[in-house]
Symmetry: C2
Subunit: 215 residues, 2 copies
């Protein structure tokens, strides 16, 4: 078993287990036994559990961010003026879905991990993500902002977080919500259908009329 195999197997097992149980609830022993490698392999190849967590995020955030940046650049050269809101959101979803699916990875796991990064108070992970991918995030947010010139900046950013919360929360709990709806209405929902519902909801939220200030 070569080095590359071991590193890969650890990352694969950790990604699944972290998404299922969270970071603290997943022990290195569970990860290494799932991966079929020795316990000490994590500390040997990654240094510590914290660095393993960061490596898991790096492996799927780097290609995602790269694709999103490329897609944004392509859009900017295609269209002359400012970008349309629909195009931007569609780019985001297309990159998230297609980019990950092409790697044979589950987008729901992706979202679940993203949700964990925000909700589990892993300070080191938050810092790692911000320092590594903050620029791309700000670039995308800036494009969205210029597509919404009539929304004041503070309101816009709050709505951006509303949107982020709606996306991360609903997609990271996709399986649980889907099971409830299936039981209550007998209707199955695919991930694509859910994104098709999420996109117009996000647009409606971002473009909602801004109530007059003065509270």
């Amino acid at each position: 078993m070569s080095q590359l195999d071991t590193v890969q197997r650890i990352l694969d097992a950790a990604e699944v287990l972290f998404a299922e149980r969270g970071f603290t609830e997943t022990s290195l022993r569970t990860i290494t036994s799932t991966a079929g490698v020795n316990l000490a392999a994590v500390n040997y190849h990654f240094g510590s559990k914290k660095e393993l967590i960061q490596a898991v995020f790096e492996r799927f955030l780097t290609p995602f961010t790269t694709s999103l940046d490329a897609e944004l650049a392509r859009l900017a050269t295609e269209e002359e003026g400012s970008l349309q809101l629909d195009d931007l959101l569609q780019s985001l979803y297309r990159v998230a879905l297609a980019g990950l699916a092409s790697q044979g990875r589950d987008p729901r796991r992706f979202m679940r991990l993203l949700g964990l990064a925000y909700t589990q108070s892993q300070g080191h992970l938050r810092r790692f993500i911000v320092s590594r991918y903050g620029d791309s995030y700000r670039r995308f947010a800036g494009s969205l902002a210029t597509a919404l010139p009539h929304v004041d900046p503070v309101t816009f950013y709050w709505r951006l977080y509303f949107m982020l919360g709606a996306t991360v929360f609903s997609l990271s709990s996709f399986d649980a919500i889907e099971a409830i709806l299936r039981e209550d209405f007998g209707a199955e929902s695919s991930l694509e259908e859910t994104l098709a519902r999420l996109a117009p909801a996000a647009v409606a939220m971002l473009t909602a009329p801004v109530p007059a200030e003065g509270g």
Copy 2:
């Protein structure tokens, strides 16, 4: 120090610490030393850590649910026909804010705990909340649904989760988001202002036009 004191002090400390760090990351030793009580007091008064977690949620979810039910009943008798969407959401926010503030508790902590209940995979807690407060939740969701007769049930419920995600996520991370916006725009946001931004965004999302089916 009477029994009531000890139980109360443990609940107070646990509520704050759980909201700050999560359940697994908060040890009983941290809780008891913060509360100024003996380590064994938790197991003596609550039985186990799991039951302590449930007790923390019970203490703030029971009065909240009771108030919401009462507010809903009051609304139903006041207005004859079906309830307005605005009234329902305003009731929800008013109860959440005023009800908790009157107890001298922080609504942000409330939201942070609610977010943890969903994202941290504590199966026992999820079951506890559903079995205890599921009826009230379904009653409120039903009122919302009848206020949106032109939205098909499945779409409605997905939007409900979008809304829940937007609320829980943005309010539970309120301090962090507020700090970012203050640094970038020099604009302070109060919790009330944020709810005043969240309400119309939620309405816009719930009332957004439903795209034609057939995907």
